[in-house]
């Protein structure tokens, strides 16, 4: 029932928006390609946004127009033509397929390997199923439970309508519009995303997963997420789902902002497996993401990511350790195969006293891919007795791939303690043979060795995520030893 209502709502909203003086030559709910101030105004109007937000977007657009695309990352690609992209497409029902026979067999094979149930396979690949009813009931009871605790978990669009004061207070406070080129673009044209608010002292009893935000799929290329954890609260947030995503959008520029108030703790886990392109690197997703968290006094933010997809990854989940005794953590496994390129890492900005950060980065490169770790540890003058511990390991599967480490360390307080360890190793033929000699087949042996290598990070993932992430690692590296 809820689904129908929401569809109706979308129709109403988009229908109504047309009255606001849109150019009527638009036949569908998709804007023609191109970006200018009018497009920004149209997006804001379509979403029925308050004026302050429109102005905020316009400011961002102005800033973006004056910026140039960064080229310091260790990646090579043809710069996207930003005027060739359509910046708004109303969330609408995907074309439903009659049966699984119509789904790309490659996609089904991967889902099967991931152990995704048949029903779920249908749902994920857009086949019509009754399953939806079930899913609605799960989601509804889930929402009720959260509601009792005062936890807000909805789309950002919904939050802007229902909780404008909360959004206004926090939006852009961690990643300002002018932060970087892609963040500015996102600020101008973001379409939707998630919003979470955890009230004071509340320990959110379940993982908040975008998975449960049904009917909110297709938030598109410019997703924006805002998580606010009030004093002493706790939340674990899961982004994405491990099912293979054949996204047709080439460019993704998302922004995630986290605010952890005094003594709050936020765990943010991502498993990303967007389309990496074919063996020659054609057609993959460009993933340019800005993720950052702000820690107040004794707050803690943990980023855990398993990155296996996208043709280009440009991503540095970071922590600003502003409050005294705050803690930042970054645990990452980044896998690149074929012609994939990843430039990923973190920034730990120590401002408060006795702030601590831990970085564990495990890169795995195969095929002809390039995998770079880029990290900054910055100790500000006031950050007395702060500590950082970093481990950056690279595992090479072939002789043709590349692994690079760019650690930057800036220390402006002599009481700080910084430890950095780095290693590069090649997967050993003798390790594989040892497994084979015990009766373990080559593919499984590689999976076992890689999982062992990435264990320190995989252990940080919530249980159900960890199992799928492990399978995903194995699948991403299939047939990759040379």
């Amino acid at each position: 029932m809820e689904r129908i209502d929401e569809d109706k709502l979308i129709d109403e909203v988009t229908g109504k928006n047309y009255e606001y003086g849109f150019t009527t030559d638009i036949e569908s709910d998709t804007l023609p390609p191109g970006l200018d101030e009018d497009v920004v105004r149209m997006i804001s109007a379509k979403k029925n946004e308050p004026e302050w937000l429109l102005n905020w977007r316009l400011e961002a657009f102005k800033v973006w127009s004056e910026m140039t695309e960064p080229d310091w990352a260790h990646v090579e690609y043809e710069k996207p033509d930003f005027q060739a992209i359509s910046y708004y497409s109303a969330p609408k029902q995907k074309k439903e397929l009659a049966s699984l026979d119509e789904v790309d067999p490659e996609l089904l094979k991967t889902m099967e390997k991931l152990g995704i149930s048949l029903e779920e396979q249908k749902r994920l690949s857009g086949v019509a199923v009754d399953f939806v009813m079930d899913s609605v009931s799960v989601a509804t009871s889930f929402k009720e439970k959260l509601g009792e605790l005062g936890v807000i978990f909805c789309s950002l669009g919904e939050a802007i309508q229902k909780h404008p004061e909360l959004v206004r207070k926090h939006l852009g406070t961690v990643v300002p519009q002018r932060d970087n080129y892609y963040a500015a673009l996102n600020s101008a044209v973001f379409t939707d995303g998630s919003f979470c608010y955890i009230p004071k002292g509340v320990r959110c009893p379940m993982e908040l997963s975008t998975y449960f935000r049904i009917n909110q799929a297709g938030t598109g290329q410019f997703e924006r997420t805002l998580i606010v954890a009030d004093e002493g609260s706790y939340v674990s947030y899961l982004e994405g789902c491990t099912a293979p995503q054949r996204d047709e959008n080439q460019l993704h520029a998302a922004v995630v902002e986290i605010i952890a108030n005094d003594e709050a703790e936020v765990r943010y886990s991502t498993v990303q497996n967007w389309y990496p392109g074919d063996k020659d690197g054609k057609g993959g997703v460009f993933n340019f993401v800005t993720k950052r968290g702000l820690c107040h006094r004794a707050a803690k933010i943990s980023w855990t990511q398993v990155e296996t997809g996208s043709a280009i990854t440009w991503k540095y989940p970071s922590c600003i350790l502003k409050g005294d005794d705050s803690i930042g953590e970054f645990f990452s496994v980044a896998v690149t195969n074929n012609k994939q390129q990843a430039d990923t890492g973190t920034k730990m900005i120590h401002i408060g006293k006795r702030t601590r950060s831990t970085i564990i980065s495990k890169g795995i490169s195969s095929g002809h891919s390039q995998n770079s770790y880029r990290g900054l540890v910055q100790i500000h003058p006031g950050a007395e007795n702060s500590r950082n511990f970093s481990v950056c390991d690279s595992l090479l599967m072939t002789d043709t791939c590349g692994a690079h480490t760019f650690p930057y360390i800036e220390v402006k307080n002599p009481t700080a303690q910084i430890e950095h360890e780095a290693s590069t190793s090649k997967i050993g033929d003798d390790q594989i043979f040892y497994c084979q000699q015990r009766g373990i087949e080559e593919e499984e042996a590689i999976g076992l060795i890689v999982k062992g290598y990435a264990k320190d990070v995989l252990n940080k993932l919530p249980m159900e995520f960890a199992v799928e992430a492990q399978k995903l690692l194995t699948i991403s590296l299939e047939g990759s030893v040379g």
Binding site: D430, F433, C435, Q436, Q437, G439, I440, E441, E444, L448
Partner: protein, 254 residues
């Protein structure tokens, strides 16, 4: 059980096995001795299916199966076990998970269900007590941070877990002190049965005092040059290998 006939193998251009023949019957334990570089470890690796070595001639038959035709993992599943001279470390993979994967691979090959957790743990308990491998070592990553003796005991533990048809021990005694040697030998002896055959590769007679062979062969320059009973080992201990060495006809080796 095992019939090796005129086996030849090389690494790069370097011929190492030059027509080696050997027959091992069920329940027999054959010791292979010989000087450094005679091809002992190569024989072990070739039988186990290491693709570093190229087999250039001959045949290996295990109960009617052409072993040379199989991948290393398939040979293992058919019951070939190699206790490594230098066991390999696999960081982050627990010894138990490793054994579980190995055991289930073998079971799948025989059309059996994966082993039940309870049965698995009982088997682990039984096999680890055989070589006095304590729980701490079982739960750690495969061979990571193990001492030389612990690694060798772990090899015998794995052998006991996998119950091979043919066990090949490649210099299992190297790097062992006398106590560890006793423990490892006790484990091997407990595994001896009328259905299981052993090939024990060693430099020294010392091991054969603990693990008593049915036959002793001397490998020199890629061939078996002398065979005998257990007393041959004692003779070798006394006289060394020089009196048995075949003059090398390989000029590149001269």
């Amino acid at each position: 059980m095992l019939k090796i006939n005129n086996l030849c193998a090389k690494v790069g251009d370097n011929e190492i096995l030059k027509g080696l023949s050997l027959e091992v019957k069920p329940g027999e334990l054959h010791a292979i001795m010989g000087p450094n570089g005679s091809g002992k470890s190569t024989l072990a690796a070739v039988l186990a299916g290491r693709d570093l070595y190229e087999v250039t001639g001959g045949s290996v038959d295990l109960d009617g199966i052409d072993l040379l035709d199989l991948e290393a993992s398939e040979r293992a599943r058919e019951g070939v076990f190699l206790a490594f001279q230098y066991p390999i470390e696999i960081p982050g993979v627990s010894n138990l998970n490793f054994m579980k994967a190995a055991l289930n691979g073998k079971r799948a090959h025989r059309g059996l269900e994966p082993i039940k957790a309870k049965d698995f743990l009982e088997k682990v308990k039984e096999c680890s007590s055989l070589v006095e491998l304590d729980g701490r070592l079982r739960d750690r990553s495969v061979n990571e941070g193990f001492s030389g003796g612990e690694k060798k005991r772990n090899e015998i533990f794995q052998m006991a877990m996998l119950e091979p048809k043919l066990a090949i021990l490649d210099e299992t005694d190297s790097g062992l002190d006398i106590d560890a040697l006793r423990v490892v030998s006790k484990g091997v002896n407990a595994m001896r049965s009328p259905e299981r055959s052993f090939i024990v590769i060693t430099h020294y007679q010392r091991l054969l005092e603990h693990i008593v062979p049915d036959f002793v062969h001397v490998l020199s320059n890629g061939k078996i040059v002398k065979s005998g009973g257990k007393e041959l080992a004692l003779e070798l201990e006394e006289k060394g290998y020089d009196w048995l060495k075949e003059p090398s006809h390989d000029t590149s080796n001269a």
